[in-house]
Subunit: 448 residues, 2 copies
Amino acid sequence: MDRIVIVGGNAAGMTAASRARRCDARLRITVLEKSPNVSYSTCGIPYFVAGDVEADDLIAFTPARLRSERGIEAWTGVAVDNVLPSRRRVEGVRLDTGERVRWGYDRLLLATGVRARIPAIPGTDLEHVFSVTTLEDAVRLRPVMEASGRVAIVGAGYVGLEMAESVRRMGKRVTVFESRDHVMPSMDADMARVVAYELERHGVGVRTSSPVEALVGADGRVTGVKAQGGPGPEPADAVLLDTGVVPDTALAQGAGVRIGATGAIAVNDYMETNVPGVYAAGNCAEAFCRQRRRPVIHYVGTVAAKQGRVAGENLAGGRSRFAGTVGTTVLKVFDMAVGRTGLSSNEAARERVRTVSARIEAQDRAAYYPTARRIWVKLIVDRDSRRVVGAQSVGYGDVAKRVDVAAAAITSGLTVDALSQLDLGYTPPYGSLWDPLLVAAQAVLRKL
Amino acid sequence: MDRIVIVGGNAAGMTAASRARRCDARLRITVLEKSPNVSYSTCGIPYFVAGDVEADDLIAFTPARLRSERGIEAWTGVAVDNVLPSRRRVEGVRLDTGERVRWGYDRLLLATGVRARIPAIPGTDLEHVFSVTTLEDAVRLRPVMEASGRVAIVGAGYVGLEMAESVRRMGKRVTVFESRDHVMPSMDADMARVVAYELERHGVGVRTSSPVEALVGADGRVTGVKAQGGPGPEPADAVLLDTGVVPDTALAQGAGVRIGATGAIAVNDYMETNVPGVYAAGNCAEAFCRQRRRPVIHYVGTVAAKQGRVAGENLAGGRSRFAGTVGTTVLKVFDMAVGRTGLSSNEAARERVRTVSARIEAQDRAAYYPTARRIWVKLIVDRDSRRVVGAQSVGYGDVAKRVDVAAAAITSGLTVDALSQLDLGYTPPYGSLWDPLLVAAQAVLRKL
């Protein structure tokens, strides 16, 4: 009766636990989570902050239900602080009682996730300055948002923009500060411009090329944000930091687990680390990029869940392989859907891929159909191989479909020629005779 | 200055004309269409009948605009009845004056489309019995629908079901008769059952396994439908026939153009027929099925438009190739989206492909998100090669996305293993952490 211990009870950890249980009913499976909750939807946090859903809605399983329905022992409030691979043991502390605890394992999964990267600027320790990586962060910040008049968001990545929408919908004055020259830095500037327009259309202030130099405060509480080149501190009653996350690898490092060049835990396709019996999965681990042919960090729940599933099968004695990622992300920014997959133009340039790209504007379904909405699609193609290397889409209509089809095309190594004739479905209520993705492919072909 | 003549002014013909013009500004391009309209959306007809859109909305270009904006000479009301390849000439008649007319060509495209297949049963010549293949059919039948209390629809293919919705939404009593044992015969019975439920939920009578033996009438006008096994004629003030279409090949046959085993015009990848200088495209022509590796007939606008585009490039001197079809179809049936791509279980069996399939039920986005809706996904996989051979989806949410991604997967020859880990986009408002397509792939993998 092998003992499986999993450190971390979210996307990767819980998926692994459930999958291992499915594969082998006899395993003893223990999940150790330092926060008060396991198995919740991190991606749903902005909708909890906006009041669209309750915190409980985001939680799929309580420890009690995991035990009774899945036979998984889940401990919350347990901070694991030591792994001894030679003795196949983990040690930690119960945060409620301070008691030292330990578990023996036959196979161990590290699914410790990320921690917020706090920028090295003055004022981040002021009150009412928050990062948003856990549900507990969100529960803590929500009443402060409610009591605030002006909220500043530092960083215009997808978490920053989702939070900007949520807080704006609470009726607050919101300003987003981004150090780079456009919002959504993982997208190209020409597409990001449309997203910035949507933010501004809904009354969100957008300050690009505005690295924040300091958070200023009074009586220990934040009162403003000082950005480079700005006229002076802009007032803010609260600040949300979307300044990146870093893989939480402290436990791994202490156990002699190898950290990769990306800063995340190095794993092979089986989610095995260099230490026998120790696996890693989720955002603390590297993910193989199918296009770059090397490990990257891609902080999304889908990759964490997929890695967790692979790890779970292997914890149960299987030999499953993680197939890698193409970097697909979609998000909602007010009425606009935003998505990207593969490499952006900048990312491709960094890989020395010579690209040609085209951007088109189209209705997302038959233009005469009442629910037709405008979207933009950009396609990035390798000039030499003619393969699709990236796609981006934004707009008021069905963006996610085009991004997902492009993700499938990129994964399959489809050329732009093949993509331009893909047999996609059409009926006026749901699509276009010439899908915008095909129109974008035609536009690229004219340039090749 | 080469002369291009195109017979037929809809999806294939007009796409070809526009594309040829784009490729070569000097060509003389003439389109000859026997009906009163060119360049309209056949797929939009059900929405015109329901009153969602006007007939004019469906018409992209008038002959006057084609001339002034694209330099394309389009003649409506001209019935071409003779092609003389040896003299590179077509002859016809002006339907308004009865005058004989003729045009010389250097390259000719036959885009003559389809005509309705009228079943060999008594009563199809009664008044208020309609087939629906052209906009003119729809204009003619709409007032009759308005004046009718009960409408019978013979055939439950996608046109029949779209018309059933449209006429039902006009407040009529509607009954659909289908000879086979389920609606949407191009789908599997287990998926079609969900569609039948949706029809019945909206008050449409569904009679499957009910081949119609006769239409009955009085004073030359239809009064009822007599189906096999039924208790007697069921009353109907009007009847719509969705009993299939046949490629309109009369002109081609007269010109010595070879007809394929399917009954449609045989073409190569360049849309060339066996007769030098004569091309064919659209629903009168065969389409290469990528999975069966042989020509099929696939009566959808997207295939017609793609073939037309290829033909247009080649009419202008290019050497473009049509990449073939995987049989993707989507439609709307009341609140339900319905789609299929690749081979159905029956179609795969006919090709002697040994398949394994799985059907799953899922929310189309995060279950806690307010707009989440239930969908069903069925995946059909080649047991030997493990490749995806078909996918079907129905439901109240985002079905079209899953069908299009599956179409891309099938086109690329993706295995179910690869599909199960596809890096699809996720955010609670637009998708699921585990996309239903991936869940279906996992379900198939458990059976393999």
